[in-house]
Symmetry: C2
Subunit: 343 residues, 2 copies
DNA sequence: AAATTTAATGCAACCGATTGCATAATAAAA
DNA sequence: TTTTATTATGCAATCGGTTGCATTAAATTT
């Protein structure tokens, strides 16, 4: 195994001091241009690579950003992460990614690992059942910037990056009402989470404005996954007074539900219209194509990392920033377009 | 900002040497049990956290595994990563994940970053157009273990973790033939990649065994994404002699294709049967439900990381291991079950 | 009691880059 | 020519664990 080249090797060969080599490599203004060229050439020649650990140790910073997500393998999260990775990579930062698998307990463990790994900043989208901020306190104490995205924790002075879930919920529901629906069942996730609570708010607001009473029997809290979609269909089938529309807070769940409903002979959109959420690719490959809310996942990831890096570099101070809200958009497709019954 | 606690602080308070503290914290056998208890208690009390950089610097190892994937946000890859993260987390390893976005150029840059980050090991699934092994040589030179998974590079003595793509391709095709189909169009990705080349081999083998001539016009190389699926449908519609079956090397593409075919009035599975690949959740929520090959993505991720860690810890030597093949499985659903035309 | 073995701890160098401060070299001003 | 300002470089301490080797203390053997 070839010996690792250090700045001392370069210094020796050039008969200059390691300090100068270090400064030259970091493009320090006090170093003569010619020296820089010389050092860089020699570094190249010897196949030098900087030792990040020595550097981190000395600088007390890691150029690493921690990310905790509920799960890696959901359309939204993997897309957010794709956006994050893109920017981090461009900016010379590393990402350490971990998943809580929707469990606060794992989230706490992950936060601790991140803390011990001395990430320069932490980006978090919380688990279903997270009800404490405790495990994030160490970061605040050490002034490590903490940004929440998508599923946020409120009342803690941390900036957050979100879409306007209330507005989105309102638009989805209002659209269904405009299509002539009034018995709108809302399928959602854990209401402790802002994303679902806010969508519900929007839903209720739309009902209110249209003088449709809100019934809590028309609000179902589920896991919002594929299985939940199937179960929802079963339950609907068994209802004496079926709803005429569904607003489901996740496309995958919505699609599974539609699929099951169709198998039961219930027509979408004529018997029941459906609006999903996220604009998952799956939304446009099923029949009927799913009306949904476009969620700017990639952009969210990009902006989250960009904001974090700007803050770390001092280009932008996040302390005063409370929230960054991204634009979401209703995309109307077939699943909510009512076609008159033929014949 | 509270000062960071070091082993020196612990040593001072306990009136012992930092060396003993270090050894006690690492559960070194030469240290007295009572001392260990004492040290650990004090560490806990002071809120000590180990400085990984100091440790890495000295130990010349990082407890970090690099992962390069084509994209983060595909069902298969995000699921593989979920499995990887799970095991890495359990074993106290960190993951640095980066995506090549199907470009060899980015893959090279990422490999370099990984190298400079001094990952202890590297896991790679190569981009569409990667045709060189050059960028991985530095790892071999430095004896940094390199494992390929899913999309592998051959002839380089690196272990790989794969499914038997040939067998899977054979089974998919043979199933279609058993259903009475013989004009089977194969939609695949870049044939430079083992996964697609092998599936094609299996496809050809099944044809051969059933004495169906292979026609190269029935082999289409595409991007295998949603858009490609739509285009495939268009092209099929325009064919004078349409195929009676499709074997598509990705579910998402297959589903998009089916959706488009249906819109054109072409019935699946009666006019054209379809078999996909991956067992993406989307496969079971469309109508007709998609016949596909189950791909053990989570397991692949878990085994990849597990193997890497075992190798690093010396528990298992990978030098002699050429390949680990995981079990895949044909899942028959409606898209390939031919129902007699009603009426 | 002396010699030898075993167990537990400490010393000090080391990993490799960074940086405040001092200094040398050169240029500009007096 | 001397003084002052400017530019470039070097010295040496520092970041915080880790580890080979030495040493001390305690236990065991002769």
């Amino acid at each position: 195994m070839a010996k690792e080249i250090t700045i001392y090797d370069i210094a020796n060969q050039l008969q200059i001091s390691p300090a100068t080599v270090s400064r030259a490599l970091n493009n320090h203004p006090a170093i003569n241009e010619k020296t820089k060229v010389l050092v860089n050439a020699k570094a190249e020649e010897l196949g030098y690579r900087s030792n990040k650990f020595a550097s981190n140790l000395r600088k007390q910073s890691t150029s690493t950003i921690g990310v905790i997500v509920p799960r890696l393998n959901s359309y939204i999260m993997s897309t957010v992460l794709a956006g994050m990775e893109k920017i981090a990579n461009e900016e010379g930062f590393n990402l350490i990614i971990s998943q809580s698998l929707e469990s606060q307990k794992k989230e706490i463990a992950n936060a601790q690992t991140m803390f011990n790994s001395r990430v320069d900043g932490l980006l978090v989208s919380v688990a279903f059942d997270t009800d404490s901020f405790e495990h994030f306190q160490p970061f605040l104490k050490k002034k490590i910037p903490l940004i929440f995205f998508d599923r946020i924790l409120e009342n803690n002075n941390c900036p957050s990056i979100v879409i306007d879930n209330t507005k989105a919920g309102y638009e989805a529901t209002n659209h269904l009402i405009q299509q002539g629906r009034s018995n709108i069942l809302h399928i959602t996730g854990n209401l402790q989470r802002n994303v679902y609570a806010d969508r519900l708010k929007g839903y209720q607001q739309a009902l209110l404005e249209n003088e449709i009473p809100f019934q809590k029997e028309f609000l179902w809290e589920t896991a919002l996954n594929l299985e939940a979609g199937k179960e929802v269909a079963q339950r609907i089938k068994a209802m004496p007074n079926r709803p005429d529309a569904l607003f489901i807070a996740s496309d995958l769940c919505a699609v599974a539900c539609i699929s099951a409903l169709k198998e039961m002979g219930i027509d979408v959109p004529n018997d029941i219209s459906v609006v999903g959420f996220n604009n998952d690719p799956v939304a446009q490959v099923i029949a009927p194509k799913l009306t949904t809310i476009h969620y700017p996942a990639k952009e969210m990831g990009e902006i989250a990392v960009k904001s974090m890096i700007n803050h770390l570099k001092g280009t932008m101070n996040l302390d005063k920033t409370n929230a960054i809200t991204l634009r979401s958009e209703l995309i109307v497709r077939e699943s909510s377009r009512i076609i008159e019954h033929s014949a």
